[in-house]
């Protein structure tokens, strides 16, 4: 790393370097998205020069940045990429899956280089870069030979052809290859208005075709005007063009082909080429305006910014904006496992036949991209965002949030003061004034809190884009055809959660491709489409965001899972017999669990499902699996929408104050000791005819019970997924919106607390991690672990200094 330090690094401060990292990261992310769009277009057998240009620009900017910061590895890679991209956009090199692979590989390497530069990883991927550079070098040498130019078939002035730039010639060839007619337009412009007039003409011509070039004819002009000859490639008829461009100043004529036929075969009807088959109705017809290829079977990705993604699963789309609405009428392909009878091939067959092809075959279908807005709309959008947004360090937002938290405490004190003043009859006027001010303050504070929260929110698409790359890469490595169908990429969630989510999602998708989707032959045998489908669905549900990773693969075999778990000594066969089906699926979350004899290349890497689960619960989320043999597997992650502000129920037990997130509280009822029964060392109570396991919070935390607690106690019933647990507490204090703060690293291993918050008058209350506690209590082993721990803890807390400290407080 040191040798890449270069000259500039020392001079530019840390702040500048941070800027470099985030800017480079943005560019790399954008590059990945552009490449996915290129991939989608090239599956349709086309090349969009504008997209390639975007990629080129991104690489070029990266090169400049890297040079500035002395990141020689990055600038070297960029330099080589520029050459290849240049060849691609000039048509000297054909876009092929192999070339695309190299480009995608480059994106991965960029990310690695950046991580190394940043010091996140010790090693630079120098060797990998070298290998890639070599491969790129070979590619750029394997350029397409010249060949006989189809251009020669047209009666074009050799003089004109001679002055075409390389790029213009390439565009001309491409258009001819696509069977587009050529038109020659002669226009006279006044010299003083030529710029605007030319722009206007271009704007009018754009919906109908592509302007290849314009050159002065040298005729017909005088001192004040000039005549241009414009070469336009268009599928429109002469009449249409005349109508569009018409006016006295333009003369249009079609360029004839040598040897007779004036036009290539007629243009394909817009709808005939529709790649969505019976979904045609769901996809609005593409209007030609934004495309330079109005005639071709129009793949929808050129306007991906507006076009709906095909929604496959039969749920009501979460948002109306980007999702096709007709899809909710489609039968769920395999979403509702309950109605599907088990694994008989004929049933599978029927179901598969009855569902519309989730995604048209890969060759024709530009399956992507949700965020990979490759079209004009997308570019405009990204341009806007560059000029109107600022990058903010999330720590700064945390700082602001802390200040807002402080202000919330001031607000509480203010309310108390206001109440106090109101009690004094001599100060009524003052009291009213204070009360009004307090209300204004409260309102503004709430707005400010919301504002900051909003800033922290980012669309999930950020994480999904990366996953699309992974899917592409892994499915190629495994020679399995897989389509990723994304819905709800615009669902917003706390930035920190998005960051933390990438790894678990990536692992789940790897698993889905590796273990879930069957090999092609197997899929064919059972009558499934050879192309597997992985759906990534996100939607908001109250204060939570739900993310589903669903595949139409082989499903999970509960018997295999049990065997494997028993073999690994995770539980006994007798215990396994008692498990409900969903509990059996839950075994895959146990540490050390795997169904494979040996880890495969894919699943051997990275984290196991236990780590996925740990990571998700660390963010206060839960994960569930449902699976049906032969039909598919669905993993559902439910996450809080933000980590920052939550509504909590403040409770007291054993003289301590705790906060329980309301999102997981179902209700709170009065506790009656007489309702309690013991079942196998566990306490349960009767909740309206249902058995509710309960847990006394003081016991769970190893605190001394409050001797004076003779009054009514309460049970706070927490629900996590479909599991319920009642926490017995001494008092309910009330409901409050709090700013939750993470406990420091030295407390990170302490289970059961999601963080802490300030209640006012300097007091701090711990926020319970309900999901973890429910899991711990109901899974049983947690309690055993606790027995040992709580004895020591109790001792430490009952004597010693803390009692005195509290007394002073």
């Amino acid at each position: 790393m040191a040798e890449h330090g270069g000259g500039g690094r020392g001079d530019l401060g840390d702040k500048a370097r941070e800027e470099f990292f985030s800017e480079a990261q943005e560019l790399i992310d954008g590059l990945g998205r552009d490449l996915l769009a290129v991939d989608a277009v090239s599956k349709g057998g086309r090349t969009d020069p504008e997209l390639i240009n975007d990629v080129f620009r991104a690489v070029h900017t990266l090169k400049g940045l890297a040079g500035l910061f002395g990141a020689t590895l990055m600038s070297g890679l960029s330099h080589e990429l520029e050459d290849v991209l240049d060849d691609l956009r000039l048509g000297r090199l054909e876009m092929s899956p192999a070339v695309l692979d190299l480009l995608f590989r480059a994106v991965e390497l960029y990310a690695q280089i950046l991580a190394a530069e940043r010091g996140d990883r010790p090693d630079e991927p120098g060797a990998d870069v070298k290998a890639l550079l070599h491969a790129l070098g070979q590619v750029s040498q394997r350029r397409e030979g010249g060949g006989v130019s189809p251009v020669a078939q047209y009666e074009l002035d050799p003089g004109l052809l001679g002055v075409l730039t390389e790029y213009e010639e390439y565009r001309l060839r491409t258009n001819i290859a696509q069977g587009v007619s050529l038109f020659r337009i002669r226009v006279q412009f006044r010299l003083d208005t030529i710029d605007s007039a030319l722009d206007e003409l271009k704007a009018r011509a754009r919906p109908h075709g592509e302007i290849i070039t314009y050159l002065p004819t040298g005729e017909g002009g005088d001192a004040d005007s000039i005549e241009l000859e414009i070469l336009l490639a268009s599928h429109a008829t002469l009449a249409v063009l005349e109508a569009a461009l018409g006016g006295s100043y333009a003369a249009i004529e079609e360029v004839q082909r040598r040897g007779g036929r004036s036009r290539p075969p007629p243009a394909i009807d817009e709808h005939e080429g529709e790649p969505f088959g019976d979904m045609t109705g769901a996809v609005p017809a593409v209007t030609g305006e934004t495309s330079s290829f109005p005639q071709a079977p129009q793949p929808p990705e050129s306007k991906a910014g507006e076009l709906p993604l095909p929604v496959v699963w039969g749920r009501e789309p979460p948002t109306t904006g980007t999702v096709s609405t007709t899809t909710s009428e489609m039968p769920p392909p395999f979403g509702d496992f309950g109605r599907v009878s088990r694994g008989r091939p004929t049933d599978v067959d029927d179901i598969l036949k009855s569902m519309p092809p989730p995604v048209p075959p890969a060759e024709k279908q530009p399956s992507y991209p949700p965020g990979a807005v490759g079209g004009t709309g997308g570019r405009e959008m990204s341009l806007r965002s560059v000029s109107q947004t600022v990058r903010v360090d999330i720590r700064k937002l945390d700082h602001l949030m802390n200040i807002v938290g402080e202000l919330a405490i001031v607000r509480t004190s203010l309310a108390k003061l206001s109440d106090k003043v109101r009690l004094r009859p001599d100060a009524r006027g003052l009291a009213n004034e204070l009360y009004r001010l307090h209300r204004v303050f409260e309102r503004n504070l709430a707005q400010m809190q919301n504002g900051i929260l909003e800033v922290r929110m980012v669309p999930l698409g950020q994480a999904f884009d990366k996953l699309a790359r992974i899917v592409r890469q892994i499915s190629r490595e495994h020679d399995k055809q897989v389509n990723l169908v994304v819905t709800g990429a615009e669902t917003e969630i706390d930035k920190l959660i998005v960051e933390e989510l990438s790894d678990p999602l990536m692992h789940m998708i790897r698993n889905a491709i590796d273990h879930g989707i069957e090999p092609r032959e197997e899929r064919m045998r059972v009558g499934k489409p050879t192309v597997g489908t992985i759906a990534l669905n996100a939607f908001q549900k109250g204060n939570h965001v739900v993310i589903e990773v669903e595949d139409d693969g082989a499903g999970m075999n509960t018997q295999v899972i049990i065997n494997s778990a028993v073999r690994r000594g995770l539980l006994s066969r007798e215990q396994a017999m008692e498990l409900a089906p969903h509990e059996i699926l839950g075994l895959v979350f146990l540490p050390g669990f795997t169904t494979r004899g040996e880890a495969t290349d894919l699943s051997g890497r990275g984290v196991g499902m236990d780590i996925v689960k740990t990571n998700i619960s660390r963010m206060g989320g839960i994960i569930d699996i449902s699976s049906e043999l032969g039909i598919g597997t669905k993993m559902t992650i439910t996450l809080p929408i933000t980590l920052a502000v939550i509504s909590v129920l403040i409770v007291e037990t054993a003289g301590r104050t705790y906060a329980i997130p309301l999102a997981s509280v179902e209700e709170a009822i009065v506790f009656d000791e007489r309702d309690v029964r013991a079942v196998e060392d566990r306490e349960v109570m009767n909740q309206r005819g249902r058995t509710l396991p309960i847990c006394r919070l003081w016991k769970l935390f190893g605190l001394a019970p409050e001797a004076a607690a003779t009054g009514k106690r309460f049970v706070v019933i927490a629900a996590v997924g479909n599991r319920k647990l009642g926490f017995v507490v001494d008092r309910l204090v009330g409901q409050q919106d709090i700013v939750i703060k993470a406990l420091g690293k030295s407390l990170s291993h302490v289970r059961g607390f999601a963080g802490a918050t300030e209640l006012g008058d300097q007091r701090v209350a711990l926020v319970l991690d309900v999901a973890a506690l429910v899991e711990e209590v109901l899974s049983g082993d947690g309690e055993r672990l606790l027995e040992g721990r709580s004895a020591g803890a109790l001792e430490m807390r009952t004597e010693g200094r803390l009692g005195d400290g509290r007394a002073r407080a």
Binding site: G702, G744, S746, L747, G800, R801, L802, G805, A809
Partner: protein, 166 residues
């Protein structure tokens, strides 16, 4: 005023030149001993706010406090050093230190004063015998008046890193 400040600065410079490099140490008492840490490692000295205990945390972590909106984990140095507990008194203080990835508070019995020690006022830790714990840097013997003759003038100089990591 300005002249006064300048004169003091000159005196300090003169003294430093005479004595060689001086380092400032903050001395505090804990279970009858005097410890001292380099003053630059101390961010702040606080009167203990209400401390919220964290169930299941390791015993030497006494709890968390809020310092101007920031959560700080407080370590009881008595417990870290394995000496007997004592109640929090009116002299008890929390020393805020930065551990890099988080802020920690160290609970001490009483903050005494700042000592400015030269190299020749510091003895290596091995004067106390062979195996000294990693957190003892050495023994400070300030030659200047301590103002607290009853404590003698023997300071156990602490290296905070092993304490914070432990």
């Amino acid at each position: 005023m300005a002249a006064l400040v300048r004169r003091r600065a000159e005196q300090r410079a003169l003294r430093r030149a005479a004595d060689g490099q001086r380092t400032e140490y903050l001395a505090f008492s804990l279970a009858g001993e005097i410890y001292a840490v380099e003053i630059h490692s101390i961010g702040e000295i606080l009167k203990p706010p209400p401390i919220t205990e964290v169930p299941r945390a390791e015993p030497s972590i006494i709890g968390v406090v809020s310092v101007r909106g920031r959560l700080v984990t407080v370590i009881d140095l008595r417990k870290r050093f394995g000496v007997k507990d004592a109640p929090i008194g009116h002299l008890t203080r929390i020393l805020l230190v930065d551990k890099g990835d988080e802020k920690l508070g160290l609970l001490v019995d009483e903050v005494l004063q700042v000592y400015r020690l030269t190299e020749n006022e510091i003895e290596p830790a091995n004067v106390l015998g062979g195996d000294q714990p990693a957190h003892i840097l050495g023994i400070g013997r300030p030659k200047e008046g301590t103002g607290r003759p009853d404590f003698g003038s023997l300071l156990v100089l602490l290296d905070l890193r092993p304490i914070l990591d432990g």
